[in-house]
């Protein structure tokens, strides 16, 4: 245990050894190389932003820059152009989009506007875009009414898909369109229109169509005469009735309804007087006085 010459010990001290091993630990290394700089930067930023006035100044500056960009004349929208809409619908669209021009295109919420325009009944399809030159272009495809739907108290115009197009004040305003009624009539407008087209020989007598039980159609003529059509293939059935009418003048007689629901057995219901006279004829034939 004698002290020899004080030569330098090449061995690392226990502490140095442990320190070196710690530095070689991957997790600690990552912490040192990533964690410490991140901490320092966040500390500096945090200290800077801890003051309210600095925060306000910073947000104001950001707002200013944003406003400067937003209000450049290149981005301003000056007017709205509506294509493909009738004057009334165009008026409705302008009403639905209360935009006061000029306005920056950054402030326009085009998806929301598109939703609003599409929500209009008369609009089938809309397309919005900002055209170069500062024009908000709205291209609209209108719904075309094909039928009038009598609905409790009101009259509505329907397009081929059964979508409501516009309310109608009175029937006489659109005499060119057929009238349909009944619960669920709007769901089968296409079929109804086809039946109406087939029924053109009766045009003068035709009052309208009634949807029965949300499954089949009744053709209503004046004098409350009805043609009850089947659920399936109503148009051929109607054509059958029309052929009968052509040949034997069926509908001009005292007939209350023609029932075509069972296509194998068309049934005719007579009016009261006709039934009575038929009964008398039958009795006479049987020889009963």
């Amino acid at each position: 245990m004698q002290q020899i010459s004080p030569r330098r010990d090449p061995a690392p001290s226990r502490l140095a050894y442990r320190m070196e091993r710690l530095l070689l630990t991957p997790a600690f290394r990552r912490l040192l190389w990533v964690g410490v700089p991140v901490f320092c930067v966040s500390l500096a930023v945090g200290l800077y932003l801890s003051d309210q006035t600095r925060r306000d100044a910073l947000s104001l500056m950001v707002e200013n820059v944003k406003a400067k960009v937003r209000d450049r004349p290149e981005f301003m929208v000056k007017l709205m152009a509506i294509d493909g809409a009738s004057p009334g619908v165009a008026e409705d669209i302008r009403e639905a989009l209360p935009v006061d021009f000029p306005m920056s295109s950054f402030d326009l919420d085009l998806p929301q506007m598109l939703r609003e325009v599409s929500a209009l009944d008369a609009v089938a399809k809309a397309d919005l875009r900002v055209r170069p030159g500062g024009v908000l272009q709205i291209s609209v495809q209108e719904r075309t009414p094909v039928a009038i739907w009598r609905n409790d108290e009101t009259l509505d115009l329907l397009d081929i898909e059964g979508h409501r197009v516009a309310p109608l004040a009175n029937r006489a305003a659109r005499p060119d369109l057929p009238l349909i009624a009944g619960v669920g009539a709007q769901k089968a407008v296409e079929e109804g229109v086809a039946i109406m087209a087939a029924a053109y020989p009766l045009a003068t007598r035709l009052r309208g169509l009634v949807r029965v039980g949300e499954r089949r159609w009744d053709v209503v003529l004046d004098d409350d005469q009805r043609i009850l059509l089947p659920e399936i293939d109503p148009v051929p059935a109607l054509e059958q009735v029309l052929a009968l009418d052509e040949a034997q003048d069926l509908l001009a007689r005292d007939v209350v309804s023609v029932d075509m629901r069972n296509k194998n057995r068309p049934t005719v219901r007579l009016g009261e007087s006709a039934a009575d006279s038929l009964r008398l004829v039958r009795l006479k034939e049987l020889g009963v006085d």
Partner: protein
């Protein structure tokens, strides 16, 4: 012995954990130097040798990414003499290797040369329970080996089954699944002084490292220095280190004997120091630069300046002829080799079919040893160098690194030892689930 079984198993699981992390350190605590290698295991997929080229005994699965050597301090005769000094030396080596590898290592496999290793041959025999030999039978036959009384304070370092015999067929490497009645097993047991191990363990623990394996340096230098044929046909490896000369005998790729002669290169150095009246450092330099064991006429005229810085002109201007130096070194080298010969004879090496002896270790680099050794050890002597492993620096490829390289191979592919096999069911602690299962199997 149960205690040891547990600790060895713990070391094996530690080794597995280290393999999973992919980094493990090799520590060769020698008398003259402490070498630390850092290995990285990343599977053999990097190797693409093409058809017929194997993966070089598994050594392509690892790569040396850090290597450091430091002069050993506090170690004598392969045993730790001054713990603090050794601990510092280990720290130096480990830190330098870590720095080179740029990775932190937590697990270390160490080897030691000293501790007076003693070899025992064990034999056991049992009746096979069913027709086929099962894992349990192997466990039982190993448990049936009669353990000799190796004395107080000795620890088992290696316990390797070297041979299995089933009925009359001997020389099996793996009897499992074979049909037979009597299973016999030969086991090679190597014990060392327990205190030596615990000192080493303490030093390693003080360096914040976990021990993942322990091997005898005689064994691991045999692994690295003997070529495959020599291991198969039988050969002895003599690892001439600084403070201890280890010898191991291999046969059929198993170590069957290991021993240590507590003499080595340091004794040669101290002889020179005493004979020429020079400091140890000068003696070491003289030995490595001018040393030899076979003198020729030329050597008489070859005068070596001893040098010195005492200030005394007479002392500092001394010269010595190389023949004189050889005259000092040769008797000691002869003594070491004769002692090795005696140990080999005691182990019955002359009865082995192959008499190949391979000299390795730092002291085997003395010029002229290849002329001297055959006179003592027999004709089939060669000077061996360790296998080349991937990534090993050129400076660490010499004969002095035989045990370090052997430890690398040992770390990659450890030999199955007794504790790697299953425990026999009746040795389990009571209430063990396996025991219950076995009881069910036997009774239903």
């Amino acid at each position: 012995m149960k205690d040891l079984y547990e600790s060895q198993r713990a070391m094996r699981s530690m080794r597995k954990a280290a393999m999973q992390r992919g980094v493990i350190a090799i520590l060769d605590v020698g008398t003259s130097k402490i070498a630390c290698l850092v290995l990285r295991f990343d599977g053999p997929e990097g190797f693409d040798g093409g058809d017929g080229v194997g993966s070089l005994a598994g050594q392509s699965s690892f790569r040396v990414i850090g290597a450091a050597t430091t002069r050993s301090r506090g170690v004598r005769f392969g045993e730790i003499d001054a713990m603090q000094e050794t601990e510092r030396a280990i720290r130096t080596a480990v830190q330098a290797a870590q720095k080179m590898a740029n990775v932190r290592v937590d697990h270390v496999i160490a080897c030691l040369a000293g501790g007076a290793p003693r070899s025992y041959g064990l034999a056991g025999q049992i009746e096979v329970e069913h027709t086929n030999v099962t894992e349990q039978d192997v466990a039982r036959v190993m448990a049936a080996c009669d353990v000799p009384d190796f004395g107080e304070g000795r620890e088992v370092l290696h316990a390797q089954p070297v041979n299995f015999a089933l009925d009359h067929r001997s020389g099996m490497s793996d009897p499992r699944g074979q049909i037979g009645n009597q299973l016999a097993c030969d086991m090679h047991l190597l014990t060392v002084d327990g205190n030596v191990i615990s000192n080493l363990l303490y030093c390693i623990k003080r360096c914040d490292l976990e021990l993942a394996g322990l091997a005898s340096s005689a064994y691991v230098s045999g692994i690295s220095s003997l070529v495959e044929d020599e291991q198969e046909l039988g050969a002895a490896c003599v690892d001439m280190g600084g403070g201890a000369t280890g010898l191991s005998i291999f046969m059929k790729k198993h170590m069957i004997y290991a021993d240590t002669v507590a003499m080595g290169g340091d004794q040669v150095t101290s002889d020179i120091s005493k004979g020429l009246q020079v400091p140890l450092a000068v003696a070491e330099r003289l030995k490595t630069v001018h040393g030899g064991v076979v003198a020729t006429g030329m050597d008489d005229r070859d005068l070596i300046e001893i040098g010195g810085e005492t200030g005394d002109w007479e002392l500092d201007r001394r010269t010595v002829s190389r023949a004189e130096l050889i005259g000092i070194m040769r008797p000691r080298v002869e003594e070491i080799l004769e002692e090795v010969r005696a140990r080999l004879d005691g182990a019955g090496f002359e009865h082995l079919p192959s008499q190949q002896i391979v000299l390795t270790g730092g002291a085997s680099q003395i010029p002229g040893l290849d002329g001297l050794a055959p006179k003592i050890l027999g004709q089939q002597v060669r000077i061996g160098r360790p296998l080349r492993v991937q990534g090993l620096p050129q400076a660490a490829t010499g004969a002095g690194f035989a045990s370090a390289v052997g430890l690398c191979l040992f770390a990659a592919h450890p030999q199955d030892e007794w504790w790697d096999f299953e425990m026999p069911a009746d040795r389990y602690p009571s209430r063990s689930l396996k025991r219950a299962v076995k009881w069910f199997k036997d009774n239903w």
